[in-house]
């Protein structure tokens, strides 16, 4: 599903974020990307949805060579990816329902399809009863669940999450992880950058640790492995 072959990323200012990364993430995998701050986790995540371009090497996501993608093809890559951020990134002036529907609207889905799918994913994250509320009226955990609903509403093959529990208390974090686990069980690949030791240690999923811009560790049922 995601394949990196000797991928390096050097920013314009000369800063090396990733160097010579080779890793394969098959379909249906659940991967935690861990490591100290500034080690290259974010760059790794951002390259998958082509927020950043690899400087060297080959990066294949869902059969597309990300490095050689025309700008006009990027939207079509992203339609197969669901992206979840630490700060939720919901639109405050749209209701919960509209926020989720928005992701389908912009790819021009039919109204009926939108109604069906939005209700379904709101059920999945357990917030159908908040459909008419605005994000400001919800707790952080609820907002993140809406963001997840939005990320999966278009049936992505990969969900990419950048510190999704970074702003949440442990209990709420667990609820969020349960949702990710359920999505993963349905066959969706999940790649998650995180600092959450408790979560990583308890989930027993594959862990890729990035240190000093290189892969330091790649364990099948891994642990967080840092003290913070």
């Amino acid at each position: 599903m995601i394949h990196l072959d000797g991928v390096s990323k050097i920013y314009d200012n000369g800063c090396v974020a990733l160097s010579d990364i080779t890793v394969d993430i098959p379909k249906g995998d659940f991967v935690f990307v861990v490591g100290p701050s500034g080690a290259g986790k974010s760059t790794f995540i951002k390259m998958i949805f082509r927020e950043e371009l690899p400087t060297k090497g080959k990066l294949i996501v869902n059969g597309r060579n990300v490095g050689e993608l025309e700008p006009s093809e990027v939207p079509y890559l992203r339609r197969n990816l669901g992206i979840v951020f630490q700060d939720y990134r919901l639109l405050p002036n749209k209701t919960v329902y509209e926020n989720v529907a928005f992701a389908m609207q912009v790819i021009e889905s039919s109204r009926r399809e939108i109604q069906k799918r939005v209700s379904h994913v709101l059920d999945l994250v357990g917030l159908r009863h908040k459909a008419k509320n605005f994000p400001g009226e919800l707790s952080g955990g609820e907002q993140q669940r809406i963001a997840i609903a939005r990320a999966i509403v278009n049936n992505p093959v990969v969900v990419i999450a950048d510190e999704p529990t970074g702003n949440l208390d442990p209990e709420t974090s667990w609820e969020i992880m349960k949702i990710f686990e359920r999505i993963n069980k349905d066959g969706t690949t999940i790649v998650m950058a995180t600092h959450d030791k408790t979560v990583v240690d308890a989930m027993k999923k594959r862990v890729i640790a990035i240190e000093k811009s290189r892969i330091a560790r790649d364990q099948v049922k891994g642990v967080y492995g840092y003290e913070d």
């Binding site: 939207p75 990134r89 609207q105 790819i107 039919s110 109204r111 278009n154």
Partner: protein
């Protein structure tokens, strides 16, 4: 593009116009003012042109004959003039007729002519009309060469001065219009920039969920076009009203001034202004979008 998507674009554009009420108002006003001035210049230039052409088409050549020609000789000259290329009408004005006209023109000062006694110093003459204005000069020159012709004159100078004036107004107008168009462009692009900035979060999310660039652009493009069109509409309404009043006034007091009738003249100018306004709006938002779309 689906109709529902278009609906969405229009809704977004309109709601954004409302949200930035003050900037929208400023944009519409600037466009309206610029296009109103553009419209006024168009009206002026076209009317001056029309006047010059009308005058030009009325230009005739006065051919003065030498004294002492026989009637046969004079007829001979007339025939030759008629045969020149482009000549459409030749009228013979004899000395007596010329004197009658001259007296008429002098009006109350006819007594000046008493000094002449019975003598009539005016020559026999032909009035010659040609089919095209560019033929006036060569025909006049050809006539001068004819035997029995003293000289041939025409009122080209007035026409040329009028055209020179038209040219000047046109150049001056063009410069002003250019500046105003740039000002309108600047204001609209700024308005759109504010809108884009206010919605950068939304644009970011749209990009992450896979919206194409055109899908993101359309509402802003529409917003710009609406601003441009709105401004043009205000200008068109003002211009139509003003020209109507002007025509009315001129017909009452200066009926000889050949103004172009209001319709379809103003309708045509309105189309030009509305298209120009819309294009300026579209250009303005394009400028902003190019710089701000790199999310």
């Amino acid at each position: 593009m689906k109709i529902r998507t278009m609906e969405y674009f229009v809704r977004e554009a309109v709601s954004s116009l409302r949200r930035n009420g003050l900037m929208s108002f400023a944009s519409v006003s600037t466009v309206a003012l610029s296009l109103l001035i553009l419209g006024m210049f168009l009206v002026m230039v076209l009317n001056l042109n029309n006047m010059a052409s009308t005058l030009e088409s009325q230009v005739q050549i006065s051919v003065y004959l030498q004294d002492g020609l026989s009637e046969h000789e004079m007829r001979e000259v007339g025939t030759r003039i008629t045969k020149l290329p482009g000549v459409v009408q030749v009228n013979f004005i004899d000395k007596e007729e010329a004197m009658k006209r001259f007296k008429q023109r002098l009006g109350e000062q006819q007594s000046l002519l008493n000094a002449l006694g019975e003598a009539n110093p005016l020559p026999n003459a032909f009035e010659v009309k040609v089919d095209r204005t560019d033929r006036v000069k060569p025909v006049a020159q050809a006539i001068t060469q004819l035997k029995g012709v003293e000289n041939a004159k025409f009122g080209q100078e007035v026409v040329e001065q009028l055209f020179a004036l038209t040219r000047m107004v046109r150049i001056f107008g063009l410069v002003i219009i250019l500046f105003l168009a740039l000002a309108a462009l600047f204001i609209i692009s700024n308005t759109i920039r504010i809108t884009v900035f206010a919605r950068r979060k939304e644009i970011g999310i749209m990009k992450y969920v896979g919206a194409t660039n055109w899908f993101i652009r359309w509402p802003f493009l529409l917003e710009g076009m609406m601003l441009g069109f709105g401004g043009a509409l205000v200008a068109v309404l003002c211009l139509n009203e003003t020209y109507g009043v002007l025509i009315h006034q001129v017909y009452e007091s200066l009926a000889f001034l050949p103004l172009i009738p209001q319709y379809p003249f103003i309708t045509n100018i309105s189309v030009v202004l509305l298209v120009t306004g819309t294009v300026i709006g579209a250009l303005g938002s394009t400028i902003s979008l190019r710089r701000f779309m790199k999310v």
